[in-house]
Symmetry: C2
Subunit: 258 residues, 2 copies
């Protein structure tokens, strides 16, 4: 199977002009077929605040009422997505910006209200790998923002990490997928206070040992659970680290396999 | 050549939930290959105002400083575009929302400053009909917002009427293009105060006569100049009227040919 790289970048890169510019160059130089997934939460919080809309977060997840959904649609789908697309076009990367509604690429269902009402938040129900592949086969590089739809006209806010892993799982039916989570750390760390303690290789077995010895921090736990779920569902390899790992010139990042 | 319909809707339809909903049903029922182009200026003015950004207009054109461009990118490219795409997906129209940066579909150059500095406003330099056709041939219906790019990373605000006519001209190389301008009037009127005076057929010759007798109002003049420019450059037919003309059940709209 042909290789496909799926790269996710978070808010820290998007907010920092220099970091974003450096990342976009690395991404445009990445060989082979690829997909970019971006968040944009910090910018959304800023603009919501300017519009007098309070951002409420529970466990790092945004409570998305109707007005917040409008801001998210503007910021993720408009401002951040189109700015990234235009910048990558300047770097000769023939990008096409997408939400899950575009090309009906990612559907979701509104999260059921249990003890918390997250509002217009969607949990992914399907990735239309055929539609996305049509774009890839036409030599376009999809750039996804973290918005999905329910196919009944409702846009829904969806976690960008989840979109990335679900896309990776879906595209694994057609490609050998490598998933890159770019974030502010150099990788999964043994000691959260020492950036030089990157765990270079991680698999189900060594992950179990780390869990038993309480090495994994609370913030990293859902990310890694997400990773192993993706690996169990067809994704070949997952990389976690800072954007420099895209060059793979050193091995100062975490490689996760099953 | 196969037929392609390009439909442009303006702010009056977008702002009115009922009108938009009615239009989207008509558009989704339109047979054959098609493209939608939308504005969104009124919504942009509202959101700019909430963000404390004053909207300056000269001759109905928006002066687009950096902050205004951000608002336009959020509102046209995000809020309006993704809402329309999600609603059309619910109507089984497999839409894909685009700015001119996406798929490098429409490039422009920043308007030169003469007596007026319009700011980040772009005049269309090329329509990438091959890229757009790849999407159409993959059975996607493109939905364009009124944003282009200069291929050097700069997004530019571009008049939606102009985008529509330039798209129509570009796509005429591959299709027999019908261009529909949907607006608040029933068509080009002989008497602007009487909506029952629709001029049903207009061509270069009858247009000249109307010009000589000062029948054409100032607001309609640039629109019609735009139309004849498109017709002279390969577009087959242009229709002007309210959204009901999409059904072509009566003939209460203006049909313009060369």
């Amino acid at each position: 199977m042909e290789k496909l790289s799926i790269v996710k970048i978070g808010g820290n890169i998007i907010e920092n002009q220099t970091a974003l510019s450096t990342f976009l160059k690395l991404f445009s130089n990445l060989k082979g077929k690829k997909i970019l997934v971006h968040g944009g939460g910090k910018r959304a919080t800023q603009i919501a605040s300017k519009l007098g809309i309070e951002s409420k977060m529970i466990n790092g997840r945004r409570i998305t009422d109707a007005k917040t959904l409008e801001v998210i649609t503007m910021v993720y789908g408009g401002l951040v997505n189109k700015t990234i697309v235009a910048n990558l076009q300047a770097l000769h990367s023939n990008t096409i910006g997408l939400s899950g509604a575009d090309a009906n690429s990612i559907t979701s269902q509104k999260r059921l209200v249990t003890d918390i009402d997250f509002g217009f938040v969607g949990d992914v129900t399907s990735v239309n790998h055929h539609a996305i592949n049509k774009l890839i086969q036409a030599d376009f590089t999809p750039v996804f923002c973290a918005i999905t739809h329910d196919k009944n006209g409702q846009l829904l806010n969806t976690n960008a990490d989840t979109i990335s892993s679900e896309l990776a799982i879906g595209m694994s039916q057609l490609y050998q997928v490598a998933l890159y989570y770019c974030f502010e750390l150099n990788g999964v760390l043994k000691d959260i206070n020492d950036k030089n303690t990157v765990i270079k290789q991680l698999n189900s077995k060594s992950y179990k040992t780390l869990l038993e010895t309480n090495i994994i921090t609370e913030g990293m736990l859902p990310k890694l659970e997400n990773c192993f779920y993706a690996l169990q569902n067809g994704v070949k390899t997952i990389y976690m680290g800072n954007t420099a790992m895209l060059t793979q010139e050193d091995d100062n990042f975490t490689t996760i396999t099953l």
